[in-house]
Symmetry: C2
Subunit: 335 residues, 2 copies
């Protein structure tokens, strides 16, 4: 049984979209899924009232406060202990849930996840990992925006977090790692990039393929693409919008029936909502961050991502991997 | 009369693609264009031999050496004074040409442009300006990769270079300026971004609209988007590849005749080659950098960009604007 706490008050479409997404996940999820809807009980009980899916696999957990999209995240998290975000994460800390998903304030979900779940030993900064569609298998890009800058050892940690997650969730035994950079040669980029390149290349436990340029991403050159949070954030928001822009053009051009189904498939491939939220990797628990404008389908898929994370035991695998990494670092003679 | 020197030995398709592009530009360009083809005279004279367009508006300028794509740019430029890149730029320095275009090594063209043409007074670092298609008017993104990092005053200079160029070349009297960032609020981003934001906001000569996030680019929120060269380079290479990726999917899905022409139009809109090269802004002259894989059409369009730059007097306008900027800075009491 996997127990997923869902922030029912977060996101533009709350509470309807999270509730609908949760119900839809319960319909798909078999007997092994339990959903804890966190939020205003009066509102939530009315919404789920007559749903046959609700049954005993859906439970409402009261939370009196909500954190707005525009509130300063760290302060809001500290002040609002009864917010749906903090209450939802506390369930996991107390062992009453296995995962948390939210389409609320990204900053608040990140801050609360770090505060409540705590970083794993050996992690200086948790990172957001976003799966992006490519012409091959999807690529996990991290950090997709938890931090605005990074130092070489942060990028090194991101690589380990990303590889473990990708291996567990996608079943790829040896994920290829790349470093986002402005050229393929190892001397390319600023000091951050050249130092990170060296660390990644010298790590015997990583399948490091080298630098990946902007155009290499969509070609699926790597499974895990490491970058600082500024570049990752800009890139992903840009990707989503380009995909949308092109889709609009596409629908306008190919609006005739014969192309309909195939065009739909393309749109679906490009639609980030299909990919169901981005995990915050490096905290001691499962926390999935969804877009504020996530429709029910995206939230349903995010529940699926949460379930795969829990079932694959990726947090424990990360803990193991980080322990081995720090032991190796301790044995290494000082440079 | 505008005299454009074309590096006939640069790029994957050289010498055929540059020669064909130059001839095509001459066919379109009326009596006001003269092309100087720089490269191996034996090869070039054979290629242009019987072309009626050649006439007296096409001249071959001998250059004995070429700079390879893989040579370390700065060293190659210093050692190869007879390379097509250095010879082509020297023509401009001596007043024998008004502009230079090349699809050769980007690093070498940048290094040689700075060395031969010299930066304009008040410019610490010239920047590559790339016009990207949006759902509205095109946006000039700079720096698109001349430098891998930047300081706040560099971003401020980029804004001035970009605004002057956009105004002159696109005829937009008051270009809107944005700063690429991870959020809209002015406090978002790292120290570089918050300091640059303050400089841009306090400059009375800029129409600064604030921060632009990744998804704002394609929406055409601004005319000039300022960013560091790392983010700009990654973004543009990514954009080109996403556009290509989506186009491939699109062509596969909508391969039937009715959608054909409209699909073609979309592909054309997204195709960077239509936009004809990126100017290196902030040097004392016109230097246009083209993709290594530019087909003749892209090189023809780059000649067009060069002609518009020369005819609009954008280099003199930048010189004027930078002088005014530094005079204002000198009058300002120290912070």
């Amino acid at each position: 049984m996997v127990r997923v706490a869902v922030d029912a008050m977060g996101g533009d479409g709350a509470p309807d979209a999270p509730v609908e997404g949760a119900l839809s996940a319960l319909r798909d999820g078999g007997e092994e899924l339990e959903v804890l809807l966190v939020g205003d009980p009066a509102v939530l009980e009315r919404l789920v009232g007559d749903e046959p899916e609700a049954g005993d696999r859906l439970r409402v957990v009261p939370a009196d406060e909500t954190i707005g999209m525009d509130e300063p995240p760290a302060r809001a998290v500290r002040r609002k202990a009864d917010s749906s975000i903090v209450v939802g994460l506390e369930l996991q800390r107390r062992g009453e849930a296995d995962a948390f998903i939210s389409a609320g304030s990204t900053g608040a979900v990140m801050a609360a996840s770090v505060l409540v779940l705590r970083p794993l030993p050996g992690v200086d900064r948790p990172a957001v990992g976003a799966m992006v569609p490519t012409s091959g298998t999807p690529t996990l890009v991290l950090d997709a925006g938890a931090n605005v800058d990074a130092r070489p050892h942060h990028l090194h940690q991101f690589a380990h977090l990303g590889v473990t997650y990708y291996r567990d969730v996608r079943g790829e035994p040896e994920p290829r790692v790349g470093l986002l950079n402005v050229g393929e040669e190892e001397a390319k980029g600023d000091e951050l990039r050249t130092a990170a390149h060296r660390r990644l290349r010298e790590d015997p436990d990583l399948s490091f393929v080298g630098n990946v340029e902007g155009h290499g991403i969509i070609e699926g050159e790597v499974d895990v693409l490491v970058c600082d949070g500024f570049a990752g954030n800009v890139l992903l928001k840009f990707y989503e919008s380009v995909a949308g822009f092109v889709s609009d053009l596409l629908l306008r051009a190919a609006g005739d029936a014969p192309a309909g189904r195939e065009v739909e498939e393309i749109l679906q491939l490009l639609d980030y909502r299909e990919h169901g939220g981005a995990p915050l990797l490096g905290v001691d628990g499962v926390s999935i961050i969804c877009h504020g404008d996530s429709p029910p389908r995206a939230l349903r898929n995010a529940v699926g991502v949460a379930v795969r994370s829990v079932e694959s035991g990726t947090v424990e695998d990360m803990r193991e991997d980080l322990r081995a990494l720090s032991e190796r670092a301790a044995r290494r003679p000082p440079a």
